[in-house]
């Protein structure tokens, strides 16, 4: 049984008892609350101001509770108590109370105005869906594009670019991750990632995702955004493991065994002095990504050559690295091999070592 139905089963309410005129008035009330939901995101004082001038009893009571900074649960409890002040058994008043509670609870939960509006107008029945759609489309058209982006170090933008090569893949991951995780993960991506995602949703949904990503950039810490990106990549990996993604051979998450063998062989052939010199210069993210495509003995060979401080730096980068598609892992390995080749050539390493490195550097060409 659907949890929401089970939880709310005691609230069955026959909205057909409420007149069309009352429902039209409640739609206008919902629209006012919808505007307020949008305004609260840009102004801390929006709720207080609205409470001060509001004349409808239920809404005024709810706004006053919200103005105290109540979280959704605290809001629900306090609003339920305030209900008894107005309870008169009139179905119209009851419906208004339910609608206001749903809308203000959504605001307390910092939901996007489109969700707040959908929640409220659902109480008016299916015949108000189109009216709400029209209202939301109009707002989505009038919204200003943010165009801001806060990029966290990480591979998600590359992954999104790869997934977008077949839109079904990107859409499958976004849908399976859900709105919250997707918006939080996109909060740490450049605008280019959002541009790839936007066409996969309708106008209203795209506006909601973009607004929420912009909102999360402000509200979430960098750790929280990174966690969301890791969760997003975890969803991707699970879908891939279940064979749910249509990835080309270059986009698979498991590296080509021949490539793994080649880079492992090249690393093991290297003198530890060369490793020490080359890895000191290399960025942690590049090394961590390249190491995803190596056998464990290559990891040991690399880490055994480094100082404690360098080892810690690389291990930290590995801890932070997300599982990446084959294409990204092999690309990082090829760039690393190029640097190692230069270091090995400068150190006059044996020909066989240079050949092993060149094989990785030129992989697939």
């Amino acid at each position: 049984m659907i949890e929401a139905i089970a939880e709310a089963a005691s609230c069955f309410f026959d909205a057909s008892k409420v007149s069309r005129q009352k429902k039209d008035a409640l739609f206008e009330l919902a629209a006012r609350i919808g505007v307020l939901a949008a305004d609260t995101r840009s102004s801390d004082k929006a709720i207080e101001k609205a409470a001060a001038i509001e004349r409808r009893k239920a809404l005024k009571a709810g706004l006053e509770i919200l103005a105290t900074g109540a979280d959704p649960e605290a809001f629900d409890r306090a609003f339920a108590q305030s209900k008894h002040r107005d309870a008169d058994g009139d179905p119209g008043s009851e419906l208004e109370w339910l609608l206001v509670r749903a809308g203000l609870r959504g605001i307390a939960d910092d939901e996007h105005y489109s969700i707040v509006m959908r929640r409220m107008t659902a109480f008016l029945g299916a015949e108000y869906y189109d009216k709400a759609e029209e209202w939301l489309s109009d707002r989505a058209k009038r919204r200003r594009a943010k165009g801001e982006s806060l990029v966290f170090p990480g591979e998600l933008p590359d992954v999104i670019r790869i997934l977008a090569m077949d839109k079904r893949n990107l859409e499958r991951v976004l849908r399976a991750a859900g709105h919250e995780i997707s918006a939080a993960a996109l909060a740490g991506c450049p605008q280019e990632s959002m541009d790839l995602v936007r066409p996969l949703y309708g106008k209203i949904g795209a506006a909601a995702l973009e607004d929420d990503a912009a909102r999360m950039r402000v509200r979430l810490s960098s750790d929280e955004i990174e966690q969301a990106q890791t969760a997003f990549l975890e969803v991707l990996r699970n879908l891939d493991e279940r064979g749910e993604l249509h990835l080309g051979p270059e986009d698979e998450l498991v590296a080509d065994p021949a490539y793994v063998a080649a880079i492992t062989k090249a690393i093991l052939s290297l003198d530890q002095t060369i490793i020490k010199g080359a890895f000191r210069q290399a960025e942690g993210a590049l090394v961590a990504t390249a190491m995803q495509g190596m056998e464990p003995e290559a990891h040991d060979h690399i880490l055994g050559a480094l100082s404690k401080k360098e080892t810690k730096r690389i291990l930290d980068a590995i801890d932070e690295a997300d599982p990446l598609p084959k294409r990204a892992v092999q690309g990082a390995g090829m760039r690393l091999a190029e640097r190692l080749f230069e270091a090995a050539a400068a150190a006059k390493a044996p020909k066989a070592v240079l050949e092993h490195l060149a094989a990785v550097r030129d992989w697939g060409s």
């Binding site: 049984m1 089963a9 969700i115 079904r168 859409e171 709105h179 279940r242």
Partner: protein, 145 residues
């Protein structure tokens, strides 16, 4: 999560004959799921004119819009709660909502079926699954041809 209470159990009660109507509903939901997975969620727009259940139309439109998770569940539940449905219409609406939630999560159609079949009742679910799988197998060669 399965959550039952006495009121819901009463509301869901309907005749066995009526429950047979769940089969086509589940197949329809699986068809929508298959289309969304194959052609993208926005492709469901072309299916809307042929759907006569307002709750399913709203659910599909919300999913296309990208509404998901708890918000989707609660919005759809609200549409159900403001109508005094009992018996078969209530059961049908519950299955539709559960199917829409599975659709929004891009579930594999077979997984969706397994989420919906318990609504037939514990004793009938297995037989319904067998029948569904038989139908699916029968329609497969046709599609390939």
């Amino acid at each position: 999560m399965i959550q039952w209470n006495a009121d819901l159990a009463r509301r869901l009660q309907c005749r066995e004959e009526e429950k047979k109507g769940l089969g086509p509903i589940i197949k329809r939901l699986m068809g929508l799921d298959r289309k969304a997975r194959g052609e993208g969620f926005l492709s469901l727009d072309s299916e809307l004119p042929s759907i006569d259940d307002p709750l399913l139309v709203i659910g599909v439109r919300l999913v296309m819009e990208g509404v998901s998770g708890e918000a989707l569940e609660e919005i759809l539940a609200t549409y159900l709660l403001v109508e005094e449905k009992t018996g078969w219409p209530f059961l049908k609406a519950c299955v539709t909502i559960e199917g829409i939630l599975a659709l929004s999560e891009s579930d594999d159609p077979a997984l969706m079926a397994r989420k919906l079949l318990p609504y037939f009742g514990a004793d009938k679910a297995l037989a319904a699954l067998e029948e569904l799988e038989k139908d699916e197998a029968a329609s497969q060669p046709e599609k390939e041809r």
